[in-house]
Symmetry: C2
Subunit: 160 residues, 2 copies
Amino acid sequence: MEVQEGLSAAELSAWRTFLRAHATVTRRLEAELVAEHDLPLASYDVLVQLSEAPGRALRMTELADRVLLSRSGLTRLADRLERDGLLTRMACPSDARGTLAVLSDVGLTRLEEAWRTHRRGVAEHVTGKLTTDEVAALGELLGKLVDEGLLPEDACDGKR
Amino acid sequence: MEVQEGLSAAELSAWRTFLRAHATVTRRLEAELVAEHDLPLASYDVLVQLSEAPGRALRMTELADRVLLSRSGLTRLADRLERDGLLTRMACPSDARGTLAVLSDVGLTRLEEAWRTHRRGVAEHVTGKLTTDEVAALGELLGKLVDEGLLPEDACDGKR
């Protein structure tokens, strides 16, 4: 496809490199998490989001917003994680319509084990390929693209 | 979770910014493609990959490798795209076990329409937030993370 007005060849190339870099790194990280912990990246991401929330709990709707890799299939994914004992779901105390997902102790332990693999993977596949200055520069450039709306908010008043 | 050996706080922060930037941008691009063309980003990506292949055709296995957003559900996605007339599937002439996906004329037209939206979105949500020098720097940094194995190869000998 030829390049048209509004996006130069250099800009298009940088964007496609962005997508390729993301795909390369996330595939490697997922392969390691699955091999060592039978935990796909989407499951890992759900556990991370819950672990960082107040009371280790998030509304399902808020969890869907925070899961960075994919919004689709969160309910099915939560079904599986609940069946494996990694999280539980309960009615939100302050809102009859809301459902909270809560990280279990088993889930937290599983996450802590997987975190060692993930940390090693990020060090190997991302930061280990860049100098300290390059890591800082990359973070600064990508920060200009981030939607602040993705930053954390409270789970549900009743949980604080 | 506390930061442990192997990954500094600055490195972890840069990595998480990478994930957030990817999520922010791809969600916006997908929302625009769905609103204007009823075409999710994964479908768009399949059409792009086919359009750039020799003979507009790729083995399904090769297509799965090239689709950057997700490998899962490619068969179901191809079912839907075939039902909508955007691609067809046929036996690979040189390999009885292989199945080729081929972009149709309808699919190419649909892609060309969607490409205008996508190009405008990338210009707005990515390159428009950076200077020309920053775009170049970002591409160079991210290029260090890319797996060269993701670069194109031939679809199938019989198609050339």
